[in-house]
Symmetry: C2
Subunit: 396 residues, 2 copies
């Protein structure tokens, strides 16, 4: 971990194991907790005392009982602590305070320019965060962590951007080292697509252990949940789909040419170029979205073809990963159903039956706060998941 001077974690591993079955928000009796965790009743009682003392668990109404005094229930109290979630895009930034369930309590947002470099952009986020923290009137000790999403590749273990294409001045900048002393809590950093995947999974698809999130906007990237966990790969570049080659398909003469990678065919700017070449002026993703909203037949056709091209690559991803959900987000997907229709046409046509018979291909549910939600989930998992507490102990 980047932070060698971390305070003691909020929870011991033992306490985290007991808290886990309560984190779905359902109150439970001590007997239910013993049965769910396999722990002895006496161990449950000891660990509950620690969790109650920390304010993380509170008494909750009695359970239904067949007679006699109803057994007392306990419940997770996500309001016991707060965290900061910061989502920095190319041109827009959002800062939020959330609780331990990921509920957003306060937000600030602003137009920014990520290309201004790390210090001015992070200084804005830090000022916004301080304003929000003052508004909550919570003591500084209640802040358990800070999650930051950036629009480029990040080495998650150090929190440093690595060769981010649209972020001049950010390469190898020590984001945790800059933010932590100014806001006073541990900092975790990841790329925005991974955080969007975490947010979608935690809020809409929690019971699915295998999910692929794909963002289609100025660039194209994916976030992978396998075995219930976000997978970042060996160097943190997992999900980097923008530069994979697209298999040959009917209907698109550009396929098979050198350089026909996915971003060159299916990103917002690529769709804009295809439209312009066909006589409908468009320069950016926003132009493409605006044309689709106006019902432009040319735009609808171009977006659908981009969906098919994306589908060619996703068919391979689906066979490889066997997810039960593919979530498509980003500005081009938000514009309407045409991108998804193209993706579905190819993926359901090409992937193997075992991989697609239970596969849902759906639009992203989170709107503009998807990024901060994902950043909040990252902090919550790092604070409360027993596995993350293990990993932090092992890295000491």
């Amino acid at each position: 971990m980047a932070e060698t001077a971390d305070p003691a974690p909020l929870l011991t591993r033992d306490a985290a194991v007991l808290l886990e079955p309560l984190r779905d928000g359902v109150p439970r009796t001590r007997a239910e907790l013993a049965s769910l965790t396999g722990l002895a009743r006496s161990t449950v009682a000891t660990r509950l005392s620690a969790l109650t003392a920390a304010g993380l668990v509170v008494p909750a109404g009695g359970a239904v009982s067949s007679g006699g005094r109803p057994p007392a229930c306990v419940a997770f109290n996500p309001a016991a602590r707060i965290l900061l979630a910061i989502d920095l895009g190319a041109t827009h930034g959002v800062v939020a305070v959330a609780d331990l369930s990921g509920r957003i309590l306060e937000t600030e947002s602003s137009e920014i320019s990520i290309a201004d470099g790390p210090e001015p952009v992070l200084d804005w986020a830090i000022r916004a965060a301080r304003t929000l923290l003052e508004r909550t009137s919570r003591p500084a000790a209640d802040l358990v962590g800070i999650g930051i999403g950036l629009p480029g590749p990040v080495e998650h273990s150090t929190g440093m951007p690595t060769n981010p294409p649209i972020m001049p001045g950010w390469d190898r900048f020590d984001v945790p080292g800059y933010v932590r002393p100014r806001l006073g809590a541990p900092v975790l950093v990841d790329n925005d697509v991974n955080l969007l995947a975490l947010g979608e999974h935690a809020t809409a698809w929690r019971e699915h252990s295998d999910l692929l999130f794909v963002k289609v906007a100025t660039g194209i990237g994916a976030g992978i949940i396998s075995g219930g966990r976000l997978q970042r790969g060996a160097q943190g570049s997992a999900g980097d789909l923008g530069h994979v080659r697209v298999p040959f398909t009917r209907g698109n003469p550009r396929h098979g040419e050198p350089g026909a990678d996915l971003e060159a065919l299916a990103s917002g700017p690529a769709i804009a170029r295809a439209l312009t070449a066909a006589g409908t002026e468009a320069a950016t993703s926003n132009d493409v979205v605006a044309l689709e909203r106006q019902g432009s037949g040319a735009a609808i056709q171009a977006i659908r073809q981009a969906g098919r091209d994306l589908g060619e690559v996703l068919a391979t991803c689906v066979n490889l990963l066997n997810p039960s959900v593919v979530v498509i987000g980003g500005s081009i997907a938000r514009a309407g159903e045409h991108l998804l229709a193209g993706v579905r046409e190819v993926v359901y046509g090409q992937s193997t039956p075992l991989a697609t018979q239970h596969l849902a291909i759906v639009p992203a549910k989170a709107g503009a706060t998807g990024g901060v939600l994902g950043a909040a989930i990252m902090v919550i998992q790092n604070t409360l998941d027993p596995g993350a507490i293990d990993a932090a102990a092992g890295a000491e």
Copy 2:
């Protein structure tokens, strides 16, 4: 889990957490264990007593000390229990007894025909297993589990093959239900490629959390280790690469035709067909391997082109998963370096720098016992990993 009448697991979760840092075989002091696990010294002592009573931990020589009495060390005792590992291929079966480190103690092998159906094939394996168990003279209670690999898709949660193409009569056959009462221990089943991936990872690449294993033989399939764990996907079909479409490349006129999936281009039979079409008679994977060993220029060229075709698909897989190791196994890879040379040529040329700068593309290390080794690792993980004990408790 398929087995509702499982006996109590060998270990409690608490004991498994303490055993984990000893499983690398290095003896450690109580103080080292406390530091590695973050547990109190008193908790370490309690859990060590339970592990010692079970025979899983034994005293080991003293540690080096600067003076006074050297602190006592303890060590994992993998000989304390045994397991059965069964690897059933299309035409060959291997049964082994192994210890809790995956060391193979005894093996039996035989030509079989998987197409004879489940009962005759499993009856052979059960007879061979009984012979081996007698030879070890170990009491029945020492057998902690049975791992079985099959040459087709398996629903891991139930242990049932699902529509296996080369296994008539096996579809939805209850393999654990058949084997368990006859051998008296819990049964886990997976497809052979997943087990080969587990075996390679555990023996040669343990410190790498992201590994892709690819088997090239009569079929083509992959096993995925992400975040240190085997990923099976939502329905257990992750790694099913045989039917993905191959992107257009120079040098191969078959690309881009309908049906130009990976197995149609790069499997043993596909290479044999290409050789035959070019005037060099070959019918099977074995013929291809024999021709390569004889130094046939046509075979070498065809295998190298198969490697390039495989590389086209693996370039996408590498960008998506960002593994640090790609291991290529199976009979075609074992024949020589030409398949790997073709794979390397395309993957290093096409994948993004971040995904390939630390990427090793290597041949499989395990030989004919790779399958039983992987089956043994599956049983060991399910018996000793704290996470697996959690999962079993949660499923009750």
